[in-house]
């Protein structure tokens, strides 16, 4: 089983190495960029505000990167099987559910690199910066959150991408239908806020996508 | 002597009539206490009143006649729970101190010679600042020897 996993991991690495390497570099770069200028010792209250503003703005890139990594890795995980109409996968001497888990596991292992890069990058950035008094760094919390976001994005897109083109079409069609309904409702001046409801249910509070939203503050009070 | 009485009247009684509830309260109390201890005819009762925050002190000087027993009494308003009263020589050294009688400290003293003495009051505990206080230096009847 280990050998099988190594084989799947290797093939998946070959398909997605560009994504992994670029994702890792980006994940390493974002914390460094977000703390630019934080090493000045002469920071007053206003500079503190500026620093936190910058950290907050750069923080928007973490969920985007997590989503992009999850999506691309999921697509890469199934692209070859889709191309070969799953014949190779179905001929392997292994239960199919095990095969799916091996594919998923391989993706998770490869995604560990960008997660580690976020942790190392943020730790380096924080260690080399002079933080104004009263502020503290959250490198570990940031890396953990990034890991959660990457895992969730990868799992969801892995499931979508594992399905047939018809499945993907249905999902996209549903999303398009919701958008259409909202647009028509706006035009017809009907008091219907599908987006608002979706935002409340999915993003705010303990929504399933709340792990992506909110403020990704590497530095905060 | 008449002039002193006039000044004291100006300083004390009219303000008692127009002042706040707490000021009237201490004026009435000191009046009652003076009546209770009884005064010697002919000699004036020196009275002072004012207000102090917790841990603040006020002092004044007065002349005590020789061989006359005096009762020096201090009262304060309902919000004051501890008042300290001290008798001092004109040079400032303590002669007697009373701090255990809570809101009604009293000192008894008979001067050997007529001299100026100092009297100091310390507001040791006032739950609603400032607390009003009043002091009376009451000459008592001489005990016939």
């Amino acid at each position: 089983m280990i050998a099988m996993f190594r084989a799947v991991l290797y093939t998946q690495w070959k398909w997605s190495r560009l994504i992994v390497v670029l994702g890792t570099v980006a994940a390493f770069a974002i914390p460094l960029l977000s703390l630019q200028g934080a090493a000045r010792p002469d920071r007053g209250a206003l500079q503190t505000q500026e620093l936190l503003g910058a950290v907050q703005s750069w923080g928007a890139l973490y969920p985007l990167l997590a989503t992009a990594l999850g999506l691309l890795m999921a697509i890469a995980a199934w692209a070859a099987d889709h191309r070969g109409r799953h014949i190779h996968a179905l001929t392997l001497p292994i239960e199919r559910w095990r095969y799916v888990l091996l594919r998923f596991g391989a993706g998770v292992v490869l995604l560990a690199a960008p997660i580690a890069a976020v942790f190392i990058g943020s730790s380096l950035a924080v260690l080399t910066a002079t933080l104004p008094p009263g502020l503290q760094s959250y490198s570990i919390a940031l890396a953990v959150r990034f890991a959660f976001a990457v895992f969730v994005a990868y799992a969801v897109f892995f499931a979508v991408s594992a399905g047939t083109a018809r499945t993907a079409g249905i999902i996209l069609g549903l999303i398009a239908a919701v958008i259409l309904v909202q647009v028509v409702a706006n035009i017809a001046n009907i008091d219907l806020n599908v987006f608002g409801a979706a935002q409340t249910v999915l993003l705010l509070g303990p929504g399933p996508l709340a792990v992506f939203t909110g403020r990704w503050m590497l530095i905060d009070v | 002597m008449r002039i002193i009485l006039v000044l004291l009247a100006v300083s004390g009684i009219p303000r008692a009539l127009t002042g706040q509830r707490w000021e009237r309260q201490v004026q009435e109390r000191v009046q009652r206490t003076i009546a209770a201890v009884g005064t010697s005819p002919g000699l004036p009762v020196v009275r002072r009143s004012g207000m102090l925050n917790t841990d603040e002190a006020a002092s004044f000087q007065t002349t005590l006649a020789q061989h006359t027993p005096y009762a020096i009494i201090a009262v304060c308003d309902d919000d004051c729970s501890r008042l300290q009263l001290t008798l001092l020589t004109s040079s400032g050294s303590e002669i007697a101190k009373e701090r255990n009688s809570e809101s009604l400290p009293t000192l008894h003293f008979t001067a050997t010679t007529t001299a100026v003495y100092g009297i100091r009051v310390v507001m040791e505990a006032c739950r609603w600042n400032p607390c009003w206080y009043a002091i009376a230096v009451v000459p008592l009847r001489k005990i016939p020897s």
Binding site: L52, L101, G205, V221 | D55
Partner: protein, 393 residues
């Protein structure tokens, strides 16, 4: 394997280059450049110095006027309500009576009757602008003259009425016919009594509390009322706006870290925010003039600090609050004794009563993470299940 090493090497090299480029000492030196190509006009240093002096004079002048008013005070007003003095044009008696009636109801609303420290409101109707001979007098800041050794039983509040309330008092405002305009006037008066309301209700504070309040310019004792300072639930917190917007966070981060930590519901932060100003022994000046900041809601250590002491007094009751107020113990000890709880914990709870704790750092809501992980696992489960039924057609 060789290709794997090559790719790993590429990744590591890229990261090292980034680190060299952006980490100190090279990266983090900010040039402090302005993003604007042109700069705006600035006053000359001499002009700025003159403006600073003008500001100092305004404050001193306000103090002197309060002292002079205190000397001129007539003691014929009712003992159970504040005296009101108007500066500016002479008002008809009925107008003065109306204002006094509103003030009486405000006074009763604050639960006050005859008090040891009497309050005098000096309402300044709008004054002319400054001339070459003197700067514009203080017109946009409320000032208080606290009782001091010269006069122990009077607290004076100086209220510049400004154009709006001046027209209202003079009966020139269309809104004078409207009931709620009167209500707003009452609120304005109630909010403007400020520290004088505390002096009236609880007398002169003990030295530690007095020094603490002086050090923080009475930011926790600006309002004794139980409603918001502008009625309803309005408080300085309301001005922060909605957490969904960026400016909410700009506003939050403009406060000291301890204040922000308290907004996040951290007792340690709340404690630090409450005890700000207790470290150094503040000498109380004579005369003790308290000048409230123009934008007082931006200079607070607690949000909504203006009602903090008022809320404590209502919570612990008069006796316990008086024991704190006049205590000779350090503020944290006296306050904890009055609250019968650690200051930080009580304040954090009090803070939660106004706003849900803000989320600091990157930590996501736990419920959200749990649901997201459940969905992810569920999705994988579905895939494994459907994969078992895959067939080639």
């Amino acid at each position: 394997m060789a290709s794997l090493k090559r790719w790993v090497l590429v990744g590591l090299t890229a990261c090292s280059v980034l680190a060299l480029a952006y980490l100190p000492p090279r990266g983090a030196r900010s040039s402090g450049k302005s993003i604007f190509a042109v700069q705006s006009l600035q006053a000359t240093p001499a002009r700025r110095h003159a403006q600073v002096l003008a500001d100092e004079w305004r404050n001193a002048d306000a103090g002197v006027r309060l002292l002079e008013d205190r000397q001129r005070l007539k003691r014929d007003s009712l003992p159970a309500s504040p005296t009101i003095v108007f500066r500016g044009p002479t008002l008809p008696p009925n107008v003065v009576r109306n204002v006094e009636t509103v003030m009486d109801s405000v006074w009763r609303g604050l639960g006050l009757a005859e008090t040891k420290v009497r309050v005098t409101l000096v309402i300044e109707l709008q004054r002319p602008n400054g001339s070459a001979k003197s700067p514009t007098p203080l017109q946009d800041r409320v000032a208080y003259l606290a009782p001091d050794s010269a006069h122990r039983t009077t607290c004076m509040a100086y209220l510049p009425a400004g154009p709006y309330w001046t027209s209202f008092i003079l009966g020139k405002l269309e809104a004078r016919y409207e009931g709620f305009a009167v209500a707003r006037f009452a609120q304005w008066l109630q909010a403007s009594v400020g520290p004088c309301a505390f002096y009236a209700a609880y007398g002169t504070p003990g030295r530690p509390v007095q020094s603490w309040l002086a050090a923080r310019n009475w930011d926790v004792g600006l309002y004794l009322g139980s409603n918001g300072i502008a009625g309803g639930r309005f408080s300085s917190l309301t001005l922060l706006g909605d957490p969904r917007f960026r400016w909410f966070w700009d506003g939050v981060y403009s406060f000291p870290p301890a204040t922000v930590a308290c907004l996040a519901g951290r007792p340690s932060g709340c404690r630090a925010a409450v005890l700000a100003g207790t470290t150094e022994e503040w000498t109380i000046p004579i005369p003790n003039v308290v000048l409230v900041e123009r934008r007082w809601w931006r200079a607070q250590h607690l949000l909504p600090g203006e009602r903090y002491l008022g809320d404590i007094a209502r919570t612990v009751g008069r006796d316990r609050f008086l024991s704190f107020w006049t205590s000779a113990l350090p503020v944290d000890t006296a306050l904890a004794a009055a609250l019968k709880r650690p200051v930080g914990e009580w304040t954090a709870d009090w803070q939660r009563g106004f706003v849900a704790p803000i989320r600091l750092g990157p930590a996501p809501p736990l419920g959200g993470v749990a649901i997201a992980l459940a969905i992810a696992v569920f999705a994988i489960g579905i895939v494994t299940a459907t994969a078992s039924r895959r067939q080639i057609r």
